[in-house]
Symmetry: C2
Subunit: 280 residues, 2 copies
């Protein structure tokens, strides 16, 4: 496995792979890998001849009061884990390599970014769409792999790729969870033991919502209120949002008829955790 | 020569050219071709094996009170002229093909778009950067050709291509002029005979500025004022802007030391005409 820090090196690797007729899969990450990332890599390996993983903590997708500085980083560990997962190359550029002096172009996806994490984190999806456009143009993958845990991000990237005519397939894979149900996230590392126990309330409340849905509940605002009430029973949890939108359009729904996304963002200690399920 | 109206057809043509090892040149246009466009096509033909011309009057780069509806269109004429100029394929998509329902992604270049035509035409360069990103992703050219008449546009596209890591070369070619010096433009068609004569004031004032510069004038605001005063002698001409900025950074200059762009936008009748020279 090779590790590249510059765009020309990365391009050159991919060019050679392509010249040999091999397909390329890309797994964009911010590093500090967990089982969710590894599953994306393994799936990429099943569907593509060559797997590239990008590891880049992208400053422009963090707000001024967010955790850019403290976001966990451990390249050595990431390299070891990626190699075991069968990755062929890691792209680990510096901030300077990605955003040299004079950089001033942004990719902005409208509408579906105006809710959920887009409301709580202004500019976040602009930063995501911009860096992913760059990564797509550098690596030129046939397929790129994202996790359903970041459901809105996956929709933003699908939209961006379609709208800008990027010639690739965006693949979104199911959320990988800890044994007790907590969605895997690099930010789980922020949780103190007591907070880790409290964090289970996200999964539990989603499960409860699924049961209510299965029992016939179709009133979106009642379902939201029940989920919010359940999260509120956990004293360490502070709700950022609990929302239900049509999926994948992310439009308002009163009565649930087609598939909907039930999405949560909850602060527990230093961590802001997100999770979601699709009800259909 | 082939004419394609859909993205899959266009992609397929380029894929075949590439599979045969041929390089691809793209000349993006809004049609109603003139000698300036033809020169771009001929230069593309010199530097690339296959030349693609896009003809698309891009609605999103026109402001609500601008000339989108009346912009001259004549595909048959354009096809004839392109064929003579040695073009291999024309890409002429519908608005629906480029902006299908649900489209909501924009490419925005900052800083250098905050002056000149970016001030007079809010949103114009966002529309340009978005459509050109799309065209670049559809045609995947090795080189794309633009005219220096639209100096700011060329800089915006260079910036966008660099910032988004598009793997292509942006080539900017000198302005092509009528015998009397008027810069070629599809919008010259709007000029009544009397206005056509008046329009020469753009070229004349740029020439005068060049003479003053050669004679040693280095005070940017004095030069601007002299150019503006000369344009004001033409009763049919209404100045939108006369500006001098460092080139290619487009930063303010008081005393001219390095290369500068002297750029004009002037309304004459229904036409808003632009022209520029680089002083160095």
């Amino acid at each position: 496995m090779q590790v590249f820090h510059t765009i020309p090196e990365m391009r050159n690797f991919v060019r050679q792979a392509r010249a040999g007729g091999r397909s390329v899969g890309l797994v964009p990450t911010m590093g500090y890998l967990h089982e969710g990332h590894l599953e994306l890599m393994r799936q990429a390996g099943k569907h593509c001849d060559v797997v590239v993983v990008s590891i880049f903590v992208n400053p422009v997708q963090f707000g001024p009061n967010e955790d850019f500085a403290s976001y966990p980083r451990d390249l050595e560990r990431d390299v070891r884990m990626s190699e075991k997962a069968g990755v062929d190359a890691i792209f680990n550029p510096s901030i300077q390599e990605m955003y040299p002096a004079g950089f001033c172009t942004q990719v902005e996806v409208g509408r579906i970014t105006e809710k959920l994490c887009g409301l709580s984190r202004p500019g976040h999806f602009r930063g995501v769409a911009t860096v992913v456009t760059k990564l797509f143009n550098i690596v030129k993958p046939d397929r790129a792999f994202f996790g359903q845990k970041d459901a809105q991000q996956a929709l933003v990237i699908e939209r961006m790729a379609a709208d800008l005519d990027l010639d690739l397939e965006v693949v979104t894979l199911p959320t990988v969870r800890e044994v007790d149900g907590l969605a895997m996230s690099s930010r789980n590392r922020y949780l103190e033991p007591e907070e880790r126990r409290a964090a289970l309330i996200l999964y539990k409340s989603l499960q409860q919502a699924r049961e209510l849905y299965r029992a016939g509940e179709r009133d979106a605002s009642r379902l939201r209120r029940l989920v919010a009430a359940m999260i509120a029973t956990e004293p360490l949890a502070g709700i950022d949002y609990v929302e239900i939108y049509s999926y994948p359009e992310l439009e308002e729904v009163a009565e649930i008829q087609g598939p909907v996304l039930l999405a949560l963002a909850v602060k527990i200690g230093r961590a802001r955790l997100i999770d979601n399920i699709i009800l259909e």
